[in-house]
């Protein structure tokens, strides 16, 4: 009896070991699959979100160019520059009288931007980006409204270069701007706020 026990134990141990290995291997395969699927899913979702953002931007720009026109040509006359800018802004406001915050930066798109910005700020160059933001002339206390003209006396602050590298590209007619912690989509020629993401730039402790 005593002599048989070790043999059975050995056999049981072999069976257990095989089982443990099989279960562990199966678990690893399942986990890898789940992780991979989750990764792909997130990548696909990001891709879809960026596509959605780009089509909304393209639709805005198409409407603006078709109905309101493009930037004027260079001129010696400051009057022409100022008048054409005001004219373009008036036409765009008339084209989108019901435009509201979130039309372009939908909640999903806004979340994507918040994630991209916080991930970039948490990355290798985060401290340099924050230093650049501090050393600019940060604009605070400017209440934002879609379709409003960006006040001309107020300095402009834009995302630093490394941040721009991690955001979807924009057509040359549009640009991102920063006002406080908010990210603004700005139409350059009419100088108006097209849309904005509230609290896009996290404060340092977040």
């Amino acid at each position: 009896m005593n002599r048989r026990l070790p043999a059975r134990w050995k056999s049981l141990q072999r069976v257990n070991c095989r089982c443990v290995f099989r279960v562990a291997a199966a678990t690893l395969v399942v986990l890898a699959g789940v992780w991979s699927a989750a990764g792909r899913g997130s990548g696909d979702q990001d891709h879809a979100t960026v596509n959605d953002f780009e089509s909304r931007v393209a639709r805005y720009l198409e409407l603006r160019k078709k109905e309101a026109g493009s930037s004027p040509r260079p001129t010696n006359s400051p009057e022409k520059i100022v008048d054409s800018q005001q004219d373009l802004a008036t036409k765009i406001k008339a084209l989108r009288p019901d435009a509201k915050q979130g039309d372009i930066f939908t909640p999903e798109i806004a979340d994507y931007f918040r994630h991209q910005i916080s991930a970039t700020l948490a990355g290798h160059d985060g401290h340099k980006i924050r230093a650049s933001l501090r050393h600019a002339e940060p604009v605070h206390a400017l209440p934002l409204q879609v379709n409003q003209v960006y006040p001309k006396g107020i300095p402009l602050q834009s995302p630093p270069a490394t941040l721009l590298l991690n955001l979807p590209n924009l057509p040359k007619e549009l640009e991102y701007r920063i006002v406080g912690h908010n990210l603004v989509l700005h139409d350059i020629a009419p100088n108006i706020v097209v849309d904005f993401v509230v609290n896009a730039i996290p404060s340092k402790k977040e």
């Binding site: 001129t75 010696n76 160059d125 002339e137 402009l156 490394t162």
Partner: protein
Amino acid sequence: MRLRVWFLILAFLLPPHLRAQAATDVQLPLEAKSVRFAVIGDSGTGEHAQYEVAQRMELYRERVNFEFVIMLGDNIYGGHQPQDFRKKFEMPYHALLDAGVKFYATLGNHDNPDERLYKPFNMGGQRYYTFNKGDVEFFVLDSNYMDPAQLSWIEQSLQKSTAKWTIAYFHHPLYSNGRTHGPDLDLRTRLTPLFRQYGVNAVFSGHEHVYERVQPENSIYYFILGNSGKLMTHDFQSSEGMEKGFDTDQGFMLVEIAGDKLYFQTISRSGHTIDSGSVEHQSHPDSVSKVP
């Protein structure tokens, strides 16, 4: 006293070129066929100091005969109504404009991007552009918005350049001892590798309302001139890496490029030379050969 009055009357009666000669102290060689230009930054206040700097520039133009002025941004502060263009640019520089001097502007953070459409700024409707004068190619960048498209344009344009001298200018400084703003570290990370790789010789910036000449970094000369209208007195927080600093008056720069040398002279509103010298055309050890 009476002698002094007579002297002033006589000085007033002098023809303009002799009056300019008496009021200026030119420390440039004024060689034949050299490229000569003036530099102003953060100029567009429309205030008295800007007008005084402009008058001083005109006195020097009569002797140096610089052909153009580079503007380092914040060309028009505050409002951008037609009267602002006149009060903050056309009126102070009317003597230079009347003499056919051209201005080439870059955008600062106080400028409306629509200034690119204003023909006297010679931006051709673009936020960033290049222009050539003699052996020199100028790369005028928009440091407000350094997006991937501009970075790629900078690299391609530098690679294509065949000029002997390449000079970049934009508003935000990459190196600075100023307390108010300091250097733009993120911009430095993106631009300096390109400048080194393609052999940029000198870089001019504004934004900090002082004058500073920085020790060459990787054989590139950096100048900050942001006091042609605005002034931030006693703004320096250290002198690390500084070769010369000046933060007690407004001013402008004169530059002459002749052969292998770049000569510079920085002049205050009151007419004192606060810095001058020359630098050699440098060879960049890490620079790649340009497309012929």
